[in-house]
């Protein structure tokens, strides 16, 4: 059983929902990342999504775009991110870690070399935004051989056939993008998400995390009622961006926000 499966099983047994924070590796500096990951676990994170910076993040809004730009100034590319992941794993053998990014860095590294590197770094899952199931068979095969989960996105306009397809090719969990648009945009329509999740759940047994638009404890609580996991990204990165001259403050504000979400989700 993969670390992700195990984690979602545990949560199910204890009647809790997964809190899944996302930060971009190397933002604002590479030194910030690993201590921040540990602190997020302390604050109640169950699974961590670590963003791999890319020069052309087409599916991201301005907040995560700027995070990528800051990280790339310090040359935090895929190879460096894998080092950071490995460093995190040295003192945390329990928390599943998912790399989230775009396909080109993987293409340039080569699929097999990438799968080997991810395996060596003890990363648990890979979410590649611009790799739909239709183009993913080679990558998935290599990852599966190494017991690494490939996580897929679902969108508000994904129909039942699409969900079934993701259920077949994906593993670990599915990530439901709660609104049409880029990361960090707009507000969640809870009723809409609830209706959509009911449809999704008819076609998959995989856990479903919901992200895009989760900003505070209130939205986290609402989403936790209806989904298996709550993904929060831009709201955390906004804290980093607001405190570029004081990374310690950024770290504390992220811890506070996650703790409040954890509390609200568990209450």
């Amino acid at each position: 059983m993969s670390r992700l499966q195990q984690k979602f099983e545990q949560l199910k047994h204890s009647g809790r929902k997964a809190l899944i924070p996302f930060i971009t590796a190397g933002d604002p500096t590479p030194e910030f990342t690993v201590p921040m990951l540990h602190a997020m676990v302390e604050a109640g994170a169950d699974v961590i999504e670590l963003g791999v910076p890319f020069s052309d993040p087409m599916a991201d809004g301005p907040v995560i775009q700027r995070a990528s730009e800051r990280a790339l100034k310090h040359h935090t590319g895929l190879r460096k991110v894998l080092q950071l992941a490995q460093e995190f794993r040295q003192t945390d053998s329990d928390t599943p870690l998912v790399l989230m990014g775009y396909l080109n860095p993987i293409e340039i590294m080569g699929y097999e070399a990438f799968a080997d590197a991810v395996h060596a770094a003890e990363v648990d899952g890979v979410l590649t935004v611009d790799l739909p199931p239709e183009e993913s068979s080679e990558c998935i095969t290599l990852l599966k051989q190494r017991h690494i989960d490939q996580i897929f996105l679902l969108a508000p306009n994904s129909n039942a056939t699409r969900v079934q397809k993701m259920d077949q090719v994906g593993s670990g969990y599915l990530y439901y993008v709660s609104l049409k648009g880029v990361t960090g945009a707009g507000h969640l329509d809870t009723a809409d998400v609830e209706q959509k999740l009911a449809m999704i759940k008819q076609h998959t047994t995989l856990p479903v995390g919901v992200g895009f638009g989760v900003k505070d404890a209130e939205t986290a609580k609402t989403i936790a009622r209806i989904a298996d996991g709550v993904v929060v990204g831009s709201a955390l990165i906004a804290k980093i961006e607001a405190n570029l001259d004081s990374p310690d403050t950024a770290k504390q504000e992220i811890i506070d926000l996650l703790s409040s979400m954890r509390q609200a989700m568990d209450s």
């Binding site: 052309d56 775009q65 590319g77 396909l103 993987i106 293409e107 611009d130 790799l131 049409k180």
Partner: protein, 400 residues
């Protein structure tokens, strides 16, 4: 290549290139577009409307002009220029926007978005949007907004909203990123008119099909004028739409050599260029697999060219395939050489080419003298140079 060429495959592949590499939210829109495109490309009413627009609105067929003086001066092959610069809006871009706009109308979309580099595609999109009464938003890198101010003004006159893009390198690739972000946000009512043969399937095939009117006409015109096929075709390649438009109808005529001319900027050796086919490597960007300019981490490298329309780190996937298969050859021309091409054609033929097209002119200057006097080159004059007057004057230290 012995069998008749019929790429892409149904799922949009040209060998290992092309495909559909997009975020999930775009998948339904791309499926919808592909279905509509497959339906209407076979529809005789659609084709009749398109043909009528190309004739009466765009001004086609564009002439195939025997540049006799230029040919004589260069002392080799006879050069025929395909005059896409004489189209309405001044470049080949309008062939495609007329087609995609008709498709948008049939699909019931009320809002058009586009990316633009030199501004030619933006102008061509704003033009058809004005005519059809569609809302139009054009994304343009902030650097390009500055160096192509005249085209920005034209787009605004035509009623389009021009959005300067300040992220990344602030050029064409960033405009494409921003247009994709817009599309994913307004997917229900918006049609994204991509200006080149890149992007996810069906764009590379669809834009090609709308641009092949260039090559079909040229083939027929040359046959009428000389009774034969050309020996070589020359066209500049940024994304590669004017080149594929000229090349495609000749792909199965193996005697016809094809030369795609990339922008070498300061020189391919300097790293400051926009020549992915000559000096890049395969990867995935903007929805397709193709040759790209990327570093060892897969980050996209900033490109450089005097010509905003060629300043792009990728290239259409079909060109990647034509390169690997050896059917077409890809060469490169520096900024300085392009300027020589620009002046040469202007002085000897009284035709002022766009900076993009000047790359094709510069390669023609190299190629023509190596061929016998009875051989024939067709060079695509993809656009006129009016938009570049400021850039060229500034570079040559002249105040306009």
């Amino acid at each position: 290549m012995t069998e008749a060429y019929n790429l892409p495959t149904e799922d949009g592949h040209f060998g290992p290139y092309g495909g559909i590499f997009v975020a999930e939210t775009l998948m339904p829109a791309i499926t919808e577009l592909n279905e509509a495109y497959q339906k209407y490309i076979e529809d005789s009413e659609f084709q009749a409307e398109l043909d009528a627009d190309l004739q009466h609105y765009v001004g086609r067929p564009s002439p195939l002009y025997h540049a006799e003086r230029w040919s004589r001066e260069l002392g080799g092959a006879q050069i025929y220029l395909k005059r896409e610069d004489l189209n309405h809006t001044g470049a080949h871009k309008v062939n495609n926007t007329v087609g995609q706009a008709l498709l948008a109308k049939r699909m019931g979309k009320t809002r058009i978005i586009a990316e633009t580099g030199a501004g030619q595609h933006g102008v061509a999109t704003a033009t058809v949007a004005a005519r059809l009464g569609l809302e139009c938003v054009v994304y343009m890198g902030a650097v390009d907004v500055e160096r192509q101010a005249l085209n920005v003004y034209r787009m605004k006159l035509l009623g389009a909203t021009v959005v300067p893009v300040h992220s990344g390198s602030r050029t064409l690739k960033d405009a494409l990123n921003e247009a994709l972000r817009d599309w994913v946000t307004h997917i229900d009512n918006t049609f994204y008119i991509i200006g080149t043969v890149a992007g996810p399937h069906p764009y590379p095939a669809m834009v090609r099909d709308f641009q092949t009117v260039i090559g079909r006409e040229a083939k027929q015109q040359l046959n009428e004028m000389t009774g034969r096929l050309p020996d070589a075709l020359v066209a500049c390649v940024g994304g590669g739409s004017n080149a594929i438009g000229l090349f495609y109808p000749f792909i199965n005529n193996e005697s016809v050599k094809m030369y795609g001319v990339e922008a070498a900027g300061d020189g391919v050796d300097t790293g400051r260029h926009s020549a992915p086919l000559c000096a890049g490597r395969p990867g995935v960007l903007h929805g397709n697999r193709t040759y790209l300019m990327a570093d060892d981490d897969g980050e996209i490298i900033e490109t450089h060219s005097i010509s905003a329309g060629l300043d792009y780190p990728g290239v259409g996937p079909e060109h990647a395939w034509l390169k690997d298969s050896g059917r077409a050859q890809y060469v490169n021309i520096t900024d300085d050489e392009a300027l020589e091409g620009f002046h040469s054609l202007t002085k000897l033929e009284g035709i002022i080419p766009a900076l993009e097209s000047s790359h094709a002119m510069a390669y023609t200057i190299k190629l023509a003298p190596t061929l016998p006097k009875d051989s024939i080159i067709i060079t695509n004059l993809s656009g006129r140079g009016d938009k570049d007057m400021h850039t060229i004057a500034k570079r040559e230290g002249i105040k306009v």
